[in-house]
């Protein structure tokens, strides 16, 4: 298995971890994530996801990465890193969504109208990946590496429920970052994607006969630790 952590270690110039700044500022779980600062600072975001997600139990590989020297203080002072970290966070999620839809399409579980919607959604997630990669580069950064996902694909019903969960998570993840984005251009892009994730989520809600607005009149945001914990089972 080619682990994302290994791929990360091959990258010559690691991105400073603006994500850590966000986590420290916003998060209730800050101590745990402060510990991850070293890992995130020394590697790029994909490895950070692994480190953060592995911290609770099977974290041996992550722990060795975490021994790298911390670079948080410089990262925290560079405001532009904040947007870059958010963009790379979103990119990681979009990579996973894209891979998920690709596997669903390949499974052939859905045909007809629903099958076409699933294909459309997968193609749209792919355009999000491309746009976010471009945004990361425009911000002067290195786009996060594609993580390797693993998704249970068993039945149409199970996959549809999973897709509903994934899209709701995606929508709440974007919403959770809206207030932290500094650049108006990056914000506009995030808003443009955010409402598309919401449209996907609502569509899947009709498919699984669940509410199109599970949070009621006000959508709830999710912070990075919550989202990262939720995507952990889908990282290979």
């Amino acid at each position: 298995m080619s682990s994302p952590a290994n791929e990360q270690s091959e990258q010559p110039v690691p991105q400073p971890a603006g994500i850590v700044e966000r986590l420290v500022r916003d998060d209730s779980d800050r101590k745990r994530f402060l510990k991850m600062a070293g890992a995130a600072g020394a590697t790029s975001f994909g490895a950070f996801v692994l480190a953060a997600c592995g911290s609770s139990s099977k974290s041996k590989t992550a722990a060795s990465t975490a021994a790298a020297p911390p670079t948080t203080s410089t990262a925290a002072q560079n405001s532009s890193t904040g947007d870059l970290a958010i963009v790379n966070y979103a990119l990681t999620l979009e990579y996973l969504e894209t891979e998920f839809y690709a596997k669903v399409v390949a499974s052939g579980l859905f045909t007809g109208t629903v099958g076409n919607l699933i294909k459309d959604f997968g193609a749209q997630e792919q355009t999000h990946v491309e746009a976010l990669k471009g945004t990361a580069e425009k911000l002067g950064g290195t786009p996060a590496a594609k993580p390797e996902g693993k998704f249970p694909i068993q039945s149409a019903s199970q996959v549809a429920h999973l897709a509903y969960t994934v899209e709701n998570l995606g929508a709440s993840a974007y919403l959770g970052q809206a207030g932290s984005i500094q650049s108006p251009e990056v914000l506009a892009a995030a808003l443009a994607i955010h409402t598309v994730e919401a449209r996907h989520a609502a569509t899947l809600g009709t498919l699984v006969k669940k509410s199109v607005t599970p949070d009621g009149a006000f959508a709830k945001p999710a912070d990075m630790p919550t989202v990262l914990a939720a995507v952990k089972p889908f990282l290979a």
Binding site: L117, D120, F121, A123, Q124, E125, T127, H128, A131, A171, L175, A178, G179, S180, P184, E185, L187, A188, A189, L191, A192, I193, H194, T195, V196, A198, R199, H200, A201, A202, T203, G205, T206, V212, T213, G216, A217, F218, A219, K220, P221
Partner: protein, 209 residues
């Protein structure tokens, strides 16, 4: 402008009677959507707020839009006489838009502003089919309007609240679009339009005083 150029004729038929700047911007928003399509709503709204006026003004615009939607689902929905899923959505969305009205009213007061009064509206719909078609157009206009105003919002808490609301507008839009056999993602992957048309001048003649 000749009729065949009208992208969303129904929006051109929506009347907003009110004297505030928020009502005026809403009329322009609807006119922009009517003439150039919903893709032009976001840049129109961005331009309308580019001159400044602050978060309270943006929220008053949002409040006016929510008044419009709430009124549409609550009053017009009842008048038209809906059935099945259309009726269920109208009831659910009416309640949610009303909650948006309440929340925005409170937020404007918190910012030290004065919430606009509810304008009066006239909707060009007479049956379930035209009701759902206009619902789709209004919700998609709402998405573009909020997304267009978003980057002009200064206060991060206000932005978070607006984000929380626009996500619901997008969900409503998708649900209605699916019900009437339209794509739930009319703008494909990005709800921000690429088009940066200078629509303000063009739509002015269409705006009813």
């Amino acid at each position: 402008m000749s009729n065949h150029e009208i992208a969303n004729p129904q929006l051109g038929g929506v009347e907003v009677h009110g004297m505030t700047r928020a009502s005026f911007i809403l009329r322009g928003t609807l006119a922009a959507g009517a003439v150039y399509g919903l893709g032009s709503v976001a840049p129109f709204v961005s331009q309308a707020f580019a001159a400044g006026g602050g978060d309270a003004e943006i929220l008053n615009f949002a409040l006016t839009l929510e008044y419009l939607e709430a009124d549409f689902y609550t009053v017009k929905g009842r008048q038209v006489g809906l059935s099945g899923q259309a009726r269920a959505y109208a009831s659910q969305f009416s309640a949610e838009e009303s909650e948006h009205v309440t929340a925005l009213t409170a937020a404007i007061k918190q910012l030290g502003g004065t919430p606009v009064k509810k304008p009066t509206f006239v909707f060009p719909t007479s049956d379930e089919k035209s009701f759902l078609a206009l619902a789709s157009t209004l919700e998609n206009t709402g998405v573009g309007a909020y997304n267009g105003a978003g980057p002009s919002i200064k206060d991060k808490k206000v932005l978070a609240a607006a984000g929380s609301i626009v996500q619901i507008e997008a969900r409503h839009a998708a649900a209605i679009d699916l019900l009437i056999g339209k794509s739930p993602t009319p703008n494909q992957g990005f709800d921000r339009p690429i088009e940066q048309a200078k629509v303000l001048t063009a739509v002015k003649p269409l705006i009813k005083a």
